[in-house]
């Protein structure tokens, strides 16, 4: 039997004004288990806390029931008081008689009655409280960043600068990501490479950062503080230690017809290649699908020319196993392919480009050397049409349901860049709405329209028709209510931002939840935007939702700080109010495992001693470090073996009973 002390707070006149404190205190004394009851002006004050500590000592209390304000306000305070008095901090229950009672009821009689009932419920629950001990787990002082774009680089740099080791795993042969492909950035029009490449070099040279390029995450297990990850470093066919990056192999390679991924297929590359001149690391990769040596067994020119004997055709994929305390996802995006929208002639006419292809074409280091031309006849275009919202803001069956956020701005940027370079080209932009929330964003768009005479037309393009080599754009001007046709030489489609579909497999590995669009879900949309609901997993950049560069960098920094919050601890103290399975009752049905949003429940074969009856059974086990204590499993459990510590079935039933006891 518990020895409970009930403490009723006046909170000045906040509670005492409408609740008869004496009556509550007196009836508390009659409750089962209560050996002491008292009231005080301000229970949370130094004096109030001292009174509680004294009472614990004098009356040998085992539990404390405080009738005061919301537990969201002072639960921690009173738990500390209990701990100071030598009790387990979880032997405290709070009856909320201020926010839920005295402040909302004017009638003294009914408020007092309600306060008494709330007090009873708290005491009924407290009678069933058991001391709880939060689990502790160690922290591996190393972070894994998945994705080496600007988001991953920034997060890695921030963590590394704080003194912790970071590994970046990047799928492609170089870090840099999408930002490396861009020509200029809005709204300042500064050169993308000029601000990105120094960061890439910083990351490569940082003592605390290790780069795993041309690598992928194969397997993830474990939980916050100690994830164990298998990284597959794909065979580069080039020895990373021996290669000095001279590039002789690339010039000698006889294959010249492979599509350059970096130039979005607008230019060709050799079979052994580095994606672009400023690639980090500057070590070539043999593309085994296109390499003559791998296709026919003949050639090997690169091997012959290489002065450092770095070419190694026998190289195999390498699996690296590492432990990490935290994982940051920075997998970024890919532009949606507009091929499914046949009316835009993408893939049928070489003069219809996506915005990213156009970006490459405008880039001085791009496939045309920064010269704008029609790919059909290499002539300079006289008129360019930009079409926005291609694949964005659509019905789920017809594209992406969301606004891709960055297209309005980059289209304004493209239009402006064209006008800046070639003032004689006519530029038309078809839009549904121009959305420019952001610092200096609307000003930027207005500059395109006002200063550069970009012709903004409200309305979507119905279709394009190839008319004697020119593209006839058939559209509707909604403000005039008129049909219009424009003959264009080049059409640029602002395609939707899309999370690469293959990240879903990664999401499953990490047990990090994702939305229907393959974006990672944040723990709270407003208050925890960079954390995944899965402890120890953080989100950086577009993998969480469409973002521009400044937002990505801001989120990358925030994710780093959140990750550092864990890395800087030696021990992680968990919430003790977590699920617990009674192995004697568990029937091994997996219901709990299926509803757990965190993957915290695992099944093991175990010998169970059921009242002397020993046999092997499949039973549920809750991983204390992963469980967050939502209680979904407790309700799903058909055998009643799953319970939630601190909110047990019996405790809640007792509260229900106490409330219904009239």
């Amino acid at each position: 039997m518990q020895r409970i002390g009930a403490f009723v707070c006046w909170c000045g006149s906040n509670i005492a004004g409408t609740v008869d404190i004496d009556a509550v205190t007196k009836s508390a004394a009659d409750e089962p288990g209560v050996v002491y009851s008292a009231e005080y002006q301000y229970m949370c004050s130094e004096g109030g806390q001292l009174a509680i500590r004294r009472a614990v000592e004098e009356h040998g209390l085992t539990g404390i029931a405080v009738c005061a304000c919301s537990p969201r306000m002072h639960e921690t305070t009173f738990r500390k008081t209990a701990a100071a008095a030598g009790l387990n901090p979880y032997m405290v229950e709070i009856a909320n008689i201020r926010e839920h009672c005295s402040w909302i009821h004017k009638n003294r009689e009914s408020a007092t009655e309600k306060a008494t009932i709330l007090m009873r419920a708290a005491i009924a629950k407290l009678n069933l409280n058991k001391p709880l001990f939060p689990g502790e787990s160690g922290v591996v002082k190393r972070a894994l960043v998945i994705g080496g774009g600007i988001a991953g680089i920034q997060t890695a740099l921030d963590i590394a600068d704080a003194g912790y080791e970071v590994d970046i795993v990047e799928k492609s042969p170089t870090i840099g990501g999408r930002m490396a492909q861009l020509d200029k950035t809005f709204p300042t029009l500064d050169c993308s490479a000029c601000i990105l490449t120094p960061k890439m070099v910083d990351a490569a040279q940082h003592d605390n950062i290790s780069l795993y390029t041309y690598s992928e995450v194969d397997e993830v297990s474990g939980y916050v503080g100690s994830f164990s990850v298998k990284i597959r470093q794909k065979a580069r066919s080039v020895n990373r230690e021996l290669c000095n990056g001279c590039g002789d192999c690339i010039t000698k390679c006889p294959v010249k017809k492979a599509n350059s991924e970096f130039d979005e297929g607008l230019s060709k590359r050799s079979a052994i290649y580095v994606p672009f001149a400023q690639a980090v690391p500057n070590i070539p990769v043999v593309d085994r699908e296109n390499c003559t040596r791998f296709k026919t067994g003949k050639c090997g020119l690169c091997e012959k020319i290489c002065g450092t004997k770095a070419i190694d055709f026998e190289q195999q994929d390498e699996i690296i196993e590492r432990e990490y305390g935290v994982i940051i996802v920075a997998t970024g995006f890919k532009p949606l392919s507009p091929e499914r929208y046949g009316e835009y002639l993408y893939g049928q006419s070489p003069d219809v480009l996506t915005s990213l292809e156009f970006e490459r074409m405008m880039n001085a280091a791009g496939p045309t050397g920064g010269v704008l031309k029609r790919l059909s006849n290499n002539e300079k275009p006289k008129s360019i049409v930009f079409i926005q919202c291609v694949g964005s803001r659509a019905d789920a069956k017809k594209g992406k349901t969301y606004c891709s956020k960055i297209c309005c701005m980059y289209t304004a940027k493209h239009a402006m860049l064209v006008k800046e370079k070639y003032p004689d080209i006519d530029v038309h932009v078809f839009y549904i709405d121009v959305r420019t929330p952001g610092k200096n964003f609307d000003e930027f768009y207005r500059r395109a329209a006002e200063q550069y005479d970009v012709n903004y037309i409200k309305g979507m393009v119905g279709k394009l028709a190839d008319e004697d080599g020119r593209l006839r754009v058939i559209a509707s001007d909604l403000l005039d209510g008129k049909q219009i046709t424009i003959d264009a030489d080049l059409v640029v489609l602002a395609t939707a931002v899309e999370a690469s579909p293959d990240v879903r497999a990664l999401g499953t590995m990490l047990t990090a939840s994702m939305d229907q669009n393959n974006f990672f879900t944040e723990a709270h949309p407003k208050l925890r935007p960079v954390e995944s609901p899965t402890a120890g997993i953080f989100l950086s950049g577009v993998c969480q939702g469409p973002k521009d560069i400044p937002e990505t960098v801001a989120q990358a920094g925030a994710a780093a700080v959140k990750a550092l919050g864990i890395l800087s601890k030696n021990k992680l103290i968990g919430n003790p109010c977590i699920a617990e399975s009674n192995e004697l009752l568990c029937n091994g049905c997996s219901c709990c495992e299926n509803v757990c949003p965190y993957g915290a429940i695992e099944y093991t074969e175990k010998e169970i001693n059921d009242h002397g009856n020993r046999n092997n059974r499949r039973v549920a086990q809750v991983n204390e470090a992963i469980c967050q204590g939502c209680g979904a499993c407790t309700v799903a459990c058909p055998s009643g073996s799953m319970d939630l510590k601190g909110f047990t079935n019996r405790q809640i039933m007792a509260e229900v009973d106490a409330i219904c006891r009239t």
Binding site: R72, E99, L118, G631, A632, C660
Partner: protein, 148 residues
């Protein structure tokens, strides 16, 4: 004696389950904004609406409750990401079953109240208790063995 009982206005007994992250905070906000709602509502704090076992609801009716209301975060806002979806499904089943055995659908309710919706919490409670007052006492499922 009969007349005396009749004169007393009917006070429904309402058990309200509130999830710790949204609705309980919403109820706190209703309190700190001094928004009145009937004293018949008694709140039980739970970590997530998905912690509400149908048994708790049955138990409440068994012990003489006239209405049970479960409050959770808005869909998509659950602190545990999917808890309220489970609640929604479970309670849809439970409430129809209760209706079948004679506890009208109006006596059970599932509401989404966010931490910022103090006013909504108060108005939902006012509405619910108002309806229960009109419906009168719940006579079904009461456990006669437990009557004192």
């Amino acid at each position: 004696m009969q007349d005396l009982v009749k004169e007393k206005p009917f006070k429904p007994l309402v058990v309200s389950f509130c999830c710790n992250w949204c609705s309980y905070a919403g109820a706190d906000l209703a309190g700190s904004s001094r928004l009145e709602y009937p004293a018949e509502v008694k709140i039980i704090r739970i970590p997530c609406s998905c912690r509400v076992d149908p048994l708790f609801v049955l138990r409440a009716f068994q012990r003489g409750a006239d209405g049970v209301i479960i409050n959770g975060c808005h869909p998509g806002d659950c602190h545990y990401s999917t808890g309220n979806y489970y609640t929604r499904r479970r309670m849809a089943m439970l409430f129809s079953m209760l209706d079948f055995i004679g506890i009208e659908k109006e006596r059970t309710r599932l509401e989404w109240v966010s931490a910022a919706e103090g006013a909504r919490f108060a108005s939902v409670m006012n509405e619910f208790v108002g309806e229960l007052r009109e419906m009168g006492e719940n006579k079904r499922l009461g456990d006669i063995r437990c009557k004192e």
